[in-house]
């Protein structure tokens, strides 16, 4: 019996964001945009979805006059990612 894949993670952009955040302590919006090569609008929507699910923490601040959005993965997000990879292994292995 295959485990169901978390629909929130089983999408290209959200999975990319989670994978990046899993391997760093924190990353800002510009870095995520550059690595995923997504549009700002699309990335922003997907970040909101991950944040609403409690998978990532989003911190908005200002550096001088420029707004800055910093994202980091939460323990819930880390657990969800682990479950997702385990489920994937079931499909592939």
């Amino acid at each position: 019996m295959f485990k169901e894949l978390d629909p929130l993670l089983h999408s290209q952009l959200r999975l990319a964001v989670m994978s990046i955040l899993l391997s760093v302590e924190e990353a800002d919006f510009v870095y995520l945009k550059e690595k995923t090569q997504a549009t700002a609008g699309n990335l922003s929507v997907q970040i909101d979805k991950l944040s609403e699910a409690g998978y990532i923490e989003v911190e908005k601040s200002f550096v001088g006059k420029k707004p800055r959005t910093t994202c980091r993965i939460t323990p819930t997000g880390r657990q969800a990612f682990e479950n997702y990879v385990n489920a994937l292994k079931g499909y592939i292995g």
Partner: protein, 209 residues
């Protein structure tokens, strides 16, 4: 990248690709903090050496306190230009230097209190070898973490100079103003040379990517 559902193999490939791309976090100018500290300390040591020798007034030795002023300036500068990404390595290195910073402050206060209590005068000459040891440990640990061999081993020169100073003090020899220059020279080996090497490597890697 778009918002689309992937098949299982694509998912695994994407995870691998993203993790490996964020691991390569070498940025141009990564060695700049070491260079700023290195050049600042070396210049300060030369200026203080010249001032004390030209005026024959040891009041100039209090100029070493500028090292403590530099710390908040650097922290402010970092807050004004935060990094776009902070890796676990960056976090560990930052924590290592926080501990080193506190060791400086605790050592400074302890020496001041003990000397004033027992001898009614304050002479911070012991701070020179101890600073070399603390900084050397910090740089070496940073070198080990980022796997930079030069950074790991060049602090050995600073350790040797620090041990020379401590031994001289132990056998009852007086410290001389030449120690200021030895201190500056240690920073050339410990921070300036590795700083330039790290910057050169980061530039090379960024151009390759």
């Amino acid at each position: 990248m778009e918002e689309r559902t992937l098949n299982e193999k694509e998912s695994l490939a994407l995870i691998t690709q993203m993790i490996s791309s964020s691991k390569k976090n070498m940025e141009i100018g990564q060695g700049n903090y070491m260079l700023i500290w290195g050049y600042f300390t070396t210049t300060l040591s030369i200026i203080l050496f010249a001032l004390v020798n030209l005026t024959h007034n040891f009041i100039w030795s209090w100029g070493w306190m500028l090292m403590f002023v530099m710390w908040p300036i650097m922290s402010y500068r970092q807050r004004q230009k935060p990094p776009r990404v902070v890796t676990y390595t960056d976090k560990v290195i930052s924590q290592v230097w926080q501990v080193m910073g506190w060791m400086f402050i605790v050592t400074f206060l302890t020496i001041g209190i003990i000397e004033f209590s027992f001898a009614r005068y304050i002479d911070f000459i012991l701070m020179l070898p101890l600073s070399l040891i603390y900084c050397g440990i910090g740089v070496s640990i940073t070198g080990i973490i980022i796997q930079e061999r030069w950074m790991t081993y060049t602090p050995l020169i600073a350790f040797i100079i620090a041990i020379y100073m401590l031994t001289m003090l132990m056998i009852g020899e007086k410290a001389t103003t030449l120690w200021y220059l030895y201190f500056g020279l240690s920073f050339v080996f410990m921070m300036i040379i590795p700083g330039h090497i790290v910057n050169h490597k980061a530039k090379k890697q960024c151009l390759k990517n």
